[in-house]
Symmetry: C2
Subunit: 147 residues, 2 copies
């Protein structure tokens, strides 16, 4: 694992540093879209806020993570497909649960094509669906039945 992380950094031409390793580690462990605040919560005693910001920026540029549009501020998630500096490709759907607050990539759902008006050209697409994730929907149903 330790190895995987350093391999990933090296593959993207980045030096291995404590902050980068731990940020990447956190993304792998949490497996959900994280905000800067989420990361700062975990890492602030060991690293400076600014360093975390710069790490996110670097990872974004190098294609290790991608930005996830959220109704409140920015989040980031690992690129599962192999992205590089020049070729970030993400056309999957993002889902935010209004109950637990988690935002996730639905990797295998990709954004349906939309017929734009004449002359318009699409470059990037971002689809965010908000609602209830399977877990929350289930436990809310359970709670409702109890009444």
């Amino acid at each position: 694992m330790e190895q995987t992380i350093n391999d990933t950094l090296r593959e993207h031409n980045l030096r291995s540093t404590g902050c980068r390793e731990e940020v990447l580690q956190t993304f792998l462990a949490r497996a959900t879209a994280l905000s800067h605040g989420d990361l700062e919560g975990d890492l602030k005693d060991r690293f400076d806020r600014v360093t975390i910001y710069r790490t996110l920026k670097t990872f974004l540029e190098k294609g290790i993570i991608h930005k996830v549009l959220d109704d409140e501020g920015a989040r980031y998630a690992l690129c599962r497909e192999h992205c590089t500096e020049d070729d970030h490709h993400h056309d999957h759907v993002h889902f935010k649960c209004n109950e637990c607050g988690q935002t996730n990539c639905l990797e295998n759902l990709h954004v349906p094509a939309v017929q734009l008006p004449t002359g318009y050209r699409a470059q990037e697409t971002n689809l965010l669906i908000q609602g209830l994730c399977a877990d929350c929907a289930k436990s809310l149903d359970g709670r409702a039945r109890a009444f």
Copy 2:
């Protein structure tokens, strides 16, 4: 026009005040999604920043404007359909031009349905397409041909 604005406010149970009239006026005049900063630019000599924030918040709650997801911060646009406090309904596409920076509602393009994984429930959907609007695409082509 002046009349329309006050009617709209009244319909949503809001008092007519200078700031509300001018903010609404600005939305009608600019016909594009506006950020708080855009409004502040136009109105800051007449109204306080905070008042503009509160006006946006009120309009949002009452269903006069809706939030538009943007890659950098929040924007707002008029609700064309008739929304109320309890019933905000927006399933149209938002388009942001990477050249001129404008974000617009494509009212008549609505978001295609997506088959979510089992157990998931959708409540809101937000599709942002970024690229070139017709005007910018055309003028960029023209410029390219000149070389």
